[in-house]
């Protein structure tokens, strides 16, 4: 998208300007990137109002995220924007890997049918942000304020945070019970609070070009090690919407970014890669070097860091934006419960317990991919060449070739919110894992299991026949806090029961008659059983709502 084509959102002078009294709101979100916008939409879907502040008045520019993972799309489904994003985006499941002038192998990321969403959809970040902004407006409840830069954060004696906000018409202050700092890798909130952001800087540089062309490249991810058109280095080609292609060229560490970015240097590279016939135009070029860093803790009293402000990774694996979306997936329901008094403040500490290991997993994976792409010694080049040579023929070596380990939802294994399995399980999502989709029939026709979950706690009860088993009646007592969904093998669907016509849901969930899963509002498994009692479910629900974690107070927790 050219700079001129970007939408501009209207700045409205805020009512607080010139008002001596400082307004207090429950939730303020700083930053309207993909992560802050998703948080606003999540809160709105939960019925909660927020103030969303962004220093700019438009969507992001240049070459940024393009690959949105299945889990992100499932979160987007929950906030009602996935159809639009998947509709505009390019679906791909297939990756192909080349070494020199040969194809080494191809892989399929979603080998089985029967999921609503594919492994990945590619769509330029600016389109995603644009659609999220529309959705946030549609949902209402978000007071979105453009050209509002947060410059200072102060923690008040009662535990709330006071933000200083700069606008074109002057400065005002805003108090919030909690703040989501979604203000990106250079987070002003993080700097204002003088918090650390440590990790590794990679020396290698990458030239990233977005190119418009009508060439007949299929919707696949192509990765080259040492191609004839870029000897000794790697290249990645990805398709986006509007006939735009993303091309990443690895550059030597010593490359001069300003030189490399010049069209007279970029165009010959592209010409060599694409061949003499192809018509193309450059949309955008940048030279990046990458870092992998994270904050030591993501929660600091009333301030919660989400997305790039909390952690940043190299883009190989598409774990940046997707990881950030999972942050808010994890955090918003917890804040909603705590703010409405339904859970203790300690529940919020589980954000660190759950999302720090997730960030570490993303950092580990993208560090290893980046290392594989940029061997640092003769021996590591030898091993890589050996792995690639063997990979053409032998399946074991394919596992060693690393061109990016693509984002999957993190499994919260060491969390105080999960109830440990009491029985032996030979499959199905374990406690801490994200729910698995399956096609089902409800009273309106074909539906998806995941559509029936999310936003609230859900008890998924598997039964051979409808109507459901007697135990189920006892569980009715949980209604105020838990949605009950039965999955039956046979019978007719009704308001509470869906039918699993071909046994896919039973198989994926390793279910038999009497199997039950308690799902959290973020669709992660809190507990699972064969024939639980109402007592089992109640205890697991309490645990998942933070009863087992230390008491504190959103207003008293220190920074």
């Amino acid at each position: 998208m050219s700079a001129a084509a970007r939408p501009r959102f209207a700045y409205v002078p805020p009512p607080e300007l010139g008002d001596a009294a400082i307004r207090r709101v429950p939730v303020a979100i700083v930053g309207a990137g993909p992560v802050g916008l998703t948080a606003a939409a999540e809160f709105a879907s939960l019925g909660r109002e927020t103030v969303l502040l962004d220093e700019d008045d438009t969507v992001s520019v240049g070459s940024r995220a393009i690959c949105w993972s299945k889990r992100t799309l499932e979160v987007f489904d929950r906030i009602g924007v996935a159809d639009r994003i998947a509709g505009k985006g390019v679906v791909w499941n297939r990756g192909r890997l080349f070494h020199g002038d040969r194809e080494v192998y191809a892989f399929d990321l979603l080998p089985e049918p029967g999921h609503r969403r594919p492994a990945f959809v590619n769509l330029q970040q600016y389109h995603v942000e644009d659609f999220l902004i529309d959705r946030v407006a549609e949902l209402g409840r978000t007071d979105i304020r453009w050209r509002s830069r947060v410059t200072a954060v102060e923690q008040l004696a009662d535990g709330a945070a006071r933000l200083t906000v700069e606008t074109p018409d002057g400065v005002y202050r805003l108090d919030a019970d909690c703040v989501l700092a979604a203000d990106g890798v250079r987070s002003a909130v993080r700097r204002a609070m003088q918090l650390d952001f440590k990790g590794r800087v990679f020396e290698d540089r990458f030239l990233i070009a977005d190119v418009t062309m009508k060439a007949g490249f299929p919707s696949e991810r192509w990765f080259w090690f040492d191609p004839p058109f870029h000897s000794g280095r790697s290249v990645l080609l990805h398709r986006q919407a509007d006939d735009v292609f993303r091309i990443d060229f690895q550059l030597p560490a010593a490359a001069d970014p300003d030189e490399e970015r010049k069209p007279e240097n970029v165009l010959p590279r592209l010409r060599q890669m694409l061949g003499p016939e192809v018509d193309f135009a450059l949309e955008w070029v940048s030279v990046y070097s990458f870092t992998c860093r994270r904050m030591k803790k993501f929660r600091h009293g009333p301030v919660f860091f989400v997305g790039d402000s909390a952690h940043v990774v190299s883009p190989f694996g598409a774990r940046g934006g997707n990881g950030g979306i999972q942050d808010v997936d994890n955090l918003c329901w917890k804040l909603d419960l705590v703010l409405s008094g339904a859970a203790p403040d300690g529940l919020l500490d589980s954000y660190d317990d759950e999302r720090i290991p997730a960030a570490d997993e993303n950092i580990l994976n993208s560090t290893r991919s980046t290392d594989f792409m940029t061997p640092k010694s003769a021996v590591s080049e030898d091993f890589r060449a050996a792995a690639l040579e063997l990979a053409a023929r032998l399946p074991f070596a394919r596992q060693l070739v690393n061109s990016g380990r693509l984002s999957l939802p993190h499994v919260y294994r060491a969390t105080p919110l999960s109830t440990r399995d009491a029985e032996a399980w030979d499959g199905g999502p374990e406690p801490g894992a994200a729910a698995i989709d399956a096609p089902v029939r409800d009273n309106a026709g074909l539906a998806w299991l995941l559509e029936r979950t999310g936003g609230r706690f859900t008890l998924l009860w598997f039964a051979d026949e409808a109507p459901a088993v007697p135990t189920f009646a006892n569980l009715e007592a949980l209604r105020p806090r838990v949605d009950l969904v039965t999955v039956v093998r046979r019978g007719a669907p009704d308001a509470a029961a869906v039918v699993d016509p071909d046994g896919t849901a039973f198989r994926r969930w390793s279910a038999v008659d009497g199997t039950a899963y308690l799902l959290r509002p973020d669709q992660h498994v809190a507990a699972r059983w064969r024939w639980p009692s109402i007592d089992d479910v109640t205890k697991a629900l309490q645990r998942a709502s933070g009863s087992a974690v230390a008491e504190g107070g959103l207003r008293s927790a220190g920074g």
Partner: protein, 72 residues
């Protein structure tokens, strides 16, 4: 006598690869080559089976019929 395993068999391939590369950190080329040689000898001794070792040698060397992992 067993066939050489060429299907995936490492529980954590990325972790293994990372360890392997890290183990060479700080070594110059000659020292790395010697380390690799020692490593081959150690792993060969662990495998023991001459059939499997023979197949591995042929594949690594890239000889005709190299991809076959069947016992003749």
């Amino acid at each position: 006598m067993a066939d050489l395993i060429t299907e995936p068999n490492l529980p954590d391939p990325d972790g293994f690869y990372d360890r392997l590369i890290r183990a060479h950190h700080g070594l110059d080329d000659a020292a790395s080559r010697r380390m690799n040689a020692r490593l081959v000898l150690l792993l060969a001794n662990h495998i023991g089976d001459p059939e499997a070792i023979g197949q591995a040698l042929a594949i690594a060397r890239g000889e005709p019929g190299e991809a076959s992992t069947r016992t003749p």
